[in-house]
Point group: D2
Chain length 428, copies 4
Amino acid sequence: MTEAAAAESPATGSLPARALAERYRAVRAATERLRAPLSPEDCAVQSMPDASPTKWHLAHTTWFFETFVLERKGGERPFDPSYRFLFNSYYNAVGPQHLRAERGLLSRPGLEEVLRYRAAVDERMLAWLEGAEADGSSLLSAVELGLHHEQQHQELILTDVKHALGGSPLRPVYRELPEAPGGAAPPLRFERFEEGVRWIGHGGRGFAFDNEGPRHRALVPAFELASRCATNEEYLAFVEDGGYERPELWLSDGFAWQRAEGVRAPLYWERDGGAWRTFTLGGMRPLRPEEPVTHVSYYEAAAFAEWAGARLPSEEEWEVAAAPAPVEGNFVESDRLHPAPAPAGPGLAQLFGDVWEWTRSDYAPYPGYRPAPGALGEYNGKFMCNQRVLRGGSCATPASHVRASYRNFFPPPARWQYSGIRLARDVA
Amino acid sequence: MTEAAAAESPATGSLPARALAERYRAVRAATERLRAPLSPEDCAVQSMPDASPTKWHLAHTTWFFETFVLERKGGERPFDPSYRFLFNSYYNAVGPQHLRAERGLLSRPGLEEVLRYRAAVDERMLAWLEGAEADGSSLLSAVELGLHHEQQHQELILTDVKHALGGSPLRPVYRELPEAPGGAAPPLRFERFEEGVRWIGHGGRGFAFDNEGPRHRALVPAFELASRCATNEEYLAFVEDGGYERPELWLSDGFAWQRAEGVRAPLYWERDGGAWRTFTLGGMRPLRPEEPVTHVSYYEAAAFAEWAGARLPSEEEWEVAAAPAPVEGNFVESDRLHPAPAPAGPGLAQLFGDVWEWTRSDYAPYPGYRPAPGALGEYNGKFMCNQRVLRGGSCATPASHVRASYRNFFPPPARWQYSGIRLARDVA
Amino acid sequence: MTEAAAAESPATGSLPARALAERYRAVRAATERLRAPLSPEDCAVQSMPDASPTKWHLAHTTWFFETFVLERKGGERPFDPSYRFLFNSYYNAVGPQHLRAERGLLSRPGLEEVLRYRAAVDERMLAWLEGAEADGSSLLSAVELGLHHEQQHQELILTDVKHALGGSPLRPVYRELPEAPGGAAPPLRFERFEEGVRWIGHGGRGFAFDNEGPRHRALVPAFELASRCATNEEYLAFVEDGGYERPELWLSDGFAWQRAEGVRAPLYWERDGGAWRTFTLGGMRPLRPEEPVTHVSYYEAAAFAEWAGARLPSEEEWEVAAAPAPVEGNFVESDRLHPAPAPAGPGLAQLFGDVWEWTRSDYAPYPGYRPAPGALGEYNGKFMCNQRVLRGGSCATPASHVRASYRNFFPPPARWQYSGIRLARDVA
Amino acid sequence: MTEAAAAESPATGSLPARALAERYRAVRAATERLRAPLSPEDCAVQSMPDASPTKWHLAHTTWFFETFVLERKGGERPFDPSYRFLFNSYYNAVGPQHLRAERGLLSRPGLEEVLRYRAAVDERMLAWLEGAEADGSSLLSAVELGLHHEQQHQELILTDVKHALGGSPLRPVYRELPEAPGGAAPPLRFERFEEGVRWIGHGGRGFAFDNEGPRHRALVPAFELASRCATNEEYLAFVEDGGYERPELWLSDGFAWQRAEGVRAPLYWERDGGAWRTFTLGGMRPLRPEEPVTHVSYYEAAAFAEWAGARLPSEEEWEVAAAPAPVEGNFVESDRLHPAPAPAGPGLAQLFGDVWEWTRSDYAPYPGYRPAPGALGEYNGKFMCNQRVLRGGSCATPASHVRASYRNFFPPPARWQYSGIRLARDVA
């Protein structure tokens, strides 16, 4: 998701104000913990138009609450009127926006001022949420949405910082990471799912983004799904088999893309004599064969699948397989900040956490989808073009943020997210 | 389709050699009739990388027969060995290719030489097809494919020449066109289709491209489909309502695209004081309100639909509606070379001919699709990314070339094809 | 000179009308002889924005006479009113111009029509020049200017066609060329010139462009000038000594340019196993070590000079050395269309013809220079920025077109002209 | 000067070590005073490839001393070995360099670390300079060069920060500036200089960059020079006379440049209803008619001169006029950080300080110029292409840094320096 494009599912009831206040404290604090290892300069840098400075994420998530809750509630003066412009991402209904590609050129407001902005908005938000007047307010759903929105930006803080640090010749460390668990990956199996008319999309209680609905039926043909994500070892075999040199494995756009960009391996891989190393948020380290491959584009994922005699799953297939599974895995709370090898055992491993899994599905509206009216609902549909759906969350995703119906989306060449590969196959 | 990417449906039997010979003569002659109004220079110009010179189309379609029939049959020396490189479009299995964007820089071979090439290949092809040895040959399916391939290029000759002439400040005439029929367009109605599990894809006898199969079932929710294509009058109302200035109507990519390109109306529209004129293959003429709007991108089609309180159909919806209809309409054989107003009457008008109809569907493989092995089958799947499906053929399509299951595809910004709009709606 | 930007020297008397008529016939016929080996398609192609189609050169030189003579004389209707726009190069005072980079997209008017245009203007021009009314007309100086202008375009026809054919994978032949003369180049000597205040610029009788004046004095320090142009053998030694890999030899802009463009040898050189071949207007042939190196940019010329422990001459130095020499050499009339080895003997060889010689001089106005008023004089000065002066003419220059004071100019990266290198040195 | 490209004049004796130590303290402290108003984020931002972050300037000037003095002296370990790469600007003989355009992406080392780097190098430098061993060292000339180099970067800190702040929608203040002096500019006069053979270039004692020599004679024709710089009022008359819309006033490259970039006024001018405002280091303020126009490109300066019936001076003309004048004016020490109106009185005002004055002279080597051997001398000559000379220093230049022979240089489109206009005229 280029950034949080979200609106509350109309079918979903919000939490009570008190519960939201507690959640608000927790989510906002989590954001600031991610910021803690970073200097003011680290927080200001923008390494490409797709990535934003940490400082901008800190301010934009705050702007969201100020604009969609405090301003609508009334009785508050804006912290700084220029922020309405500076920290609006793409909400045309709110007004014009600072150029996305120039977020890194804003040295002011500085980090300290942005932290003051956060504190001021937090104070107002909590005073209201913990006061008498909030209960039952129609604005509570915007608060809940804002918290999910902020969780999306928590993940982006990590991926954007990784991109900035990984582009520095110093390859500096974000934070020392725990030793990676050792051991081999379990053998790859394919699990079979029979044809059927299935329910797809969010249908239960609890929060969901509007693009997860309406819940609807779809005829899903029989298919097989890999028992775990593809590993570095498997991907390396593709590389060493000349995978990047064989046009017959690639989508036409994908081959043109890797030629033009000089891509010959996943992002952050570096050849070091005969061995490969990779950049992590803990700095450079040897590539571990048993870990899931990550930071691959859709094009690379599709070429690898072709080479492997398989294909990528559709998002419906993925959801059919994941719906019964518990939402457990290697999320940001594990503090590893890197995908981990799959555990041995029966069933499908790594559906949640570790790496976002590219699907072959175009990011398109579900049957009957209509964006909600107004600024908040205005903008999920507008990204439904030239993007592919990813499912399942990653090692940088908060555990409480993801679910089986969650649809992440990025354009085919995107590689700076923790994106990985799960294979699928037709059933003859 | 950027150009013919096709392979024979394995389920389809070919015509007998004699019948193919007759068809071969007819198709090849039709191509040369389209060329007749053009000078050597007209045939050499390439106005953008997406469009090719007529001369290249004449040679590439010939190369197809030489490479996939004569060369495989054996016993023939190539007409000119350099043509294997010069006139290969994108078949990596055949070998490297001349740069697509530089096709217009090849002044040699000239038109005369290319016509000699055509004649020499025709002579060899017909000698074989009309001889004893062809009957039952496994190469006959490649002949049939080559004829459908050539029909695709017939359409491209017209659209590419229109783009070249339309870009000249002289706005020169390709050929004098007959007077357009007058009269108003019939009122727009929506026809309802009920939910059901439907068969999609080519299933009967006769030729089809591999991307039209496998035939498969899909659950298609209830929908409504417009009784005719959107007209210039309707599109002009969108323009005059500020449609191009209202970001809320547009896909995010689409709005960025029209800002960057300065697009404010369909391709070939020109404002002339208070009125609009449009470029046709017969030169400039006043815009006729009752004609179907054409030369719009997917982005424009989607924004118009949003403005109209509707949406574009999915390709499955379109096919469900079109499957029972006869393949009749304003095709290239009508010699109008321009879309015509819809006739009055019941049912759905203009499903075939006039304009290709943008669908909201990503150009994706059908369930179970696998490209055929080898060069011929290698290359339909590789275009299945970042393109949208169009259905139904246009005023530049040969009548015998299209069918209800036919899937054309272009990237969202493409406008130089005869692309138009049919609206659809959800059923509440 | 990107194209003819010229105005008559006010000090110069024109020829009588009858003499001009004769000269007119000769120059116009020479242009058409250069065209003769080319097909309509060859005449239409534009291989880069800097180069123009032959057809455009044929029409533009005709437009010059129509606009600056026939139109001013009065009593004539334009051949085609659209040509005023289509074939204007850069004369803003005449009106707007068709985009330079899109000259190759104009398939119409075709070659035949352009030849009719030439014939029609020739008929009118000659009727006037050979009639009674022309003698003494103030328009005669524009006729003379137009003939020199056309000679400039004769050279451009050859260099532009060479670029177009040289870019084709077929490397086709413009015309069979005579066998190149054999033999070694004479040894390189440096000839010394003493310091002095020298007269620079055109001063005698006869035609000159306005940028060759005013004639003025300049203090020219003592210098040494090479006895002939640098040869392929000498340049190859630079290449093989790693010349293109050593930043210390290059201007900073030049090194960046050759990295970005992937330049590792002069234009048209191709390595063929261990040997080098080069493209000529007679097709590919082995690189001859004794011929002058040509098709080098200013950047390459300057780097070579640095490597050779020398420098490029200033334009004043060149003119001081060339002023006493006869204007003789390998010009277009020799029909070789390629530079030839220097003859042995005393003095400075190859000052005129063979290759244009890059000087280190910025193309700047001489002291007291003011462009003439009006369209014709408007436009020499406007190119006096970011260009370097070249001197002496080439194997593609008409002999009657060049002189010691003649200033050609191109931007530093230009390579498609017959540009070469003569070294100079400071005197300690 | 894109950045300091300098080498010691071989004819110049250095100061004694003790005197240099004192000067070292002063220059290094001056740099840090310029930094003081800036936050860590302000110091990290790079608003375009031509501008560098303050932090980079702080480090690069330190790297200069570490590389060219401490490292050569021996016995010192580098502060951080990676800095050799990170803070090398363009010295290929020292080794490869971090990409210029990506200086703003380096969040580490942070400002604090860079200040530690400065302190560590200062300690070592001063220990050596104030010790016994430095006196008479051949490295003292590199120290002196390094101090002039650092002064160049002091000016760049100001111009680069102005560009970064001026590009922010907040238009933030670098430092509160004193009230500008009021009053009208004195009337423009032209002062006449007679023709003569003049001495040009640095010849006296004291430091000079190598590009200021060798001192040599040149024949300078008679000319007239304006008594002061062109004012905002005069430039505004050009703007309001349609100056930017009239191609006949512009160099061809210049007109293309302003069309492509959308330039319609000097950098930092903003129209505010009927009035103009301009961005200064003290923030936005009304445009003062009596101040010298600044932040104009060479193209704008030349077009203005053409409009005014004049031209820009050559660098020799400027030097002839300035050589007798005292080096006094509105320099950085005045703390105005903005050009001030010319004082009334006889003679030529504003030759030094206020604004750098564009000359029409190509930045070219003087006769006999040879760069010194080795890294330090390697690199002035390599910038001698596609740049124009500016003379006289600006309100951001240290007073002790400039002199009559000083040659600054920038490419014609550069506008972010304090560049202005002094007119000249031919003498009929």
